[in-house]
Amino acid sequence: MFLLKLVFRNAFRHRLRTLLTITGLAIAVLAFGLLRTVVDAWYAGAAAASSARLVTRNAISLAFFLPVSYESRIRAVEGVTRVARSTWFGGIYQEPKNFFPQFAVSPAYLDLYPEFVIPAEQRAAWTRDRKGALVGRQLADQFGFKVGDALPIKGSIYPGTWEFVVRGIFDGADSGTLTRHMLFHWDYLNETLRKKTPRRADFVGVFVVGVDQPDNAAAVSTRVDEVFRNSLAETLTETEQAFQLGFVAMSDQIIAAIRVVSYVVIVIILAVMANTMAMSARERTGEHATLKALGFGPGFLAALIFGESAAIAAVGAAIGIAAGAPVAAFFKQAAGIFPIFEISPDTIALQVACAAVVAVAAAVVPAVQAARVRIVEGLRSIA
């Protein structure tokens, strides 16, 4: 009790210095949490992807499409239960900063994605309307889309203004499901292309393939690709998760850099904190010598320093962690590029661990010095 009293009073006796250190620590812990969350958000798509669905694409590159005629041949492969078409549209809603993904899909797509929950009447309305669009809940919330709204999209890959009508809003089956995208009929895209640029018609970006058993995914992949071996457009079939991770891998170095920066932030605040503790301990050499003269042992003095460091780190970390949720929500709204941007329990645990490491590491040298202070020399420092 007495030790705690002394620790807290010591921690706040230089209020400005302590407040600046706490502020720095809070910002560092917050920045660490946000940077880790950026990395998590990057992987969110892959995390939400299923390993029971396959994606078949052109073996050369995603930039090359596959003939729509492949669909029936894929469906005939042993172990395949369903096949859906999906083509990246890449259009712009009103202005470039409003970017969100749009996919031209065949109706079977929704059967392959049971995690997209949509009322039956909305799905039926979408099926009936060639220009109908389905928007995810996150997207609808962001732009205020409602069923029945006109949704004009300016094509960038497919020129012209494409008119859609929102026919349904789908929810995620759980909080990890990304619903910040739009689906519309592949047939609408294809028919329009047939009229305007027939050369581009009857091609599909990727086929999403359902398999009878997840354990069969590898074998089915091999069989699908075998069908198209030595054809004009060879295929590469992989699980949806591997497909998504392939995208993430393109940003590997950026992610690695973000990870490094997140730890650099902690190292910087460790240096600041160590400086604060060293200054505090040095200023109190006389007090430490007095305490030792009175009979307090080296352990008590070390505990004073560690306790003070822990108190400052705890307050700073608590503020940084508490600020995480509202700042992440603001960042998600302001940046608008991450559909899921929430600080995870794992990240909070890491924030706590980093604060604990900072508290201990910053206090080690000052604590050892305080514990070893020679009484006679320490008392002389007062004079």
């Binding site: 002394l6 006796r13 007090e287 007095t290 009175l294 009979g295 307090f296 006679v376 007062i382």
Partner: protein, 224 residues
């Protein structure tokens, strides 16, 4: 004899060279005495006081306090011994600035096997003895120099130590406060029988003591 010093020597290393500070000191101090250690700067009086108080160790010789050879004790044992046997009064008071007068006085009792109520009773008693019963909740920076030194005296006596060591206790005080502190030390010695060893370079302060030890260049010149 409370303090028995035989052929005590102490030197410090300065710039790689051993500089003798005390040489061949032999001195006895009786229980209940009030000794003033005098001498010019660098004569070794504070070093001798530190050795008697167990916060420094001699190079050679023997130093017994209340029958204990304190030079032979380990650091941990010496710390325990100081907590029980020595009360400190410093020139610059050395109070903990974040603790109130009461808490500063209570400090040495934290190392004693006492209940909170017992600690409170003893701390309040000694604070009233030094005339600061109404200043218990004041922090050191809210007290005058003389009052701070009275708190330090209360801290020095609260654990009822065997000896009280005072290093220039009036060195930072004005004349009136200094006289007040010296009178208080005399009271402690005469009324409570406390053994006090005081370092001072002030002849007037030394008059408060019962006996005088004069050091010069690390040697005992006169003991009276």
């Amino acid at each position: 004899m409370l303090v028995e010093i035989r052929n005590l020597a102490k030197s410090y290393t300065r710039g790689g060279q051993a500089v003798p500070v005390l040489s061949d000191i032999t001195l006895d101090i009786e229980s209940g005495d009030f000794i003033a250690l005098m001498g010019p700067s660098g004569s070794g009086k504070t070093t001798l006081l530190n050795l008697i108080a167990g916060i420094d160790k001699p190079d050679s010789g023997t130093l017994r306090v209340d029958g204990v050879d304190i030079a032979a004790l380990s650091e941990a044992d010496l710390a325990d011994w100081r907590a029980v046997h020595v009360g400190f009064i410093f020139q610059f008071y050395n109070l903990m600035p974040v603790l109130t007068a009461y808490e500063n006085v209570e400090l040495p009792l934290m190392l004693a096997p006492l209940s909170r109520a017992e600690r409170r009773a003893r701390a309040e008693l000694v604070l009233s003895v030094v005339g600061l019963a109404d200043r218990m909740k004041h922090y050191p920076n809210e007290l005058s120099g003389g009052q701070q030194q009275r708190v330090a005296i209360a801290r020095a006596v609260v654990a009822d130590p065997t000896i009280i060591v005072a290093d220039e206790p009036t060195g930072d005080l004005d004349r009136v406060s200094a006289a007040d502190i010296l009178a208080m030390l005399q009271r402690l010695n005469r009324e409570l029988g406390k053994t006090i060893i005081m370092v001072t370079h002030d002849a007037n302060a030394a008059k408060a003591a019962r006996s005088l030890v004069h050091l010069e260049k690390g040697e005992l010149i006169v003991s009276s």
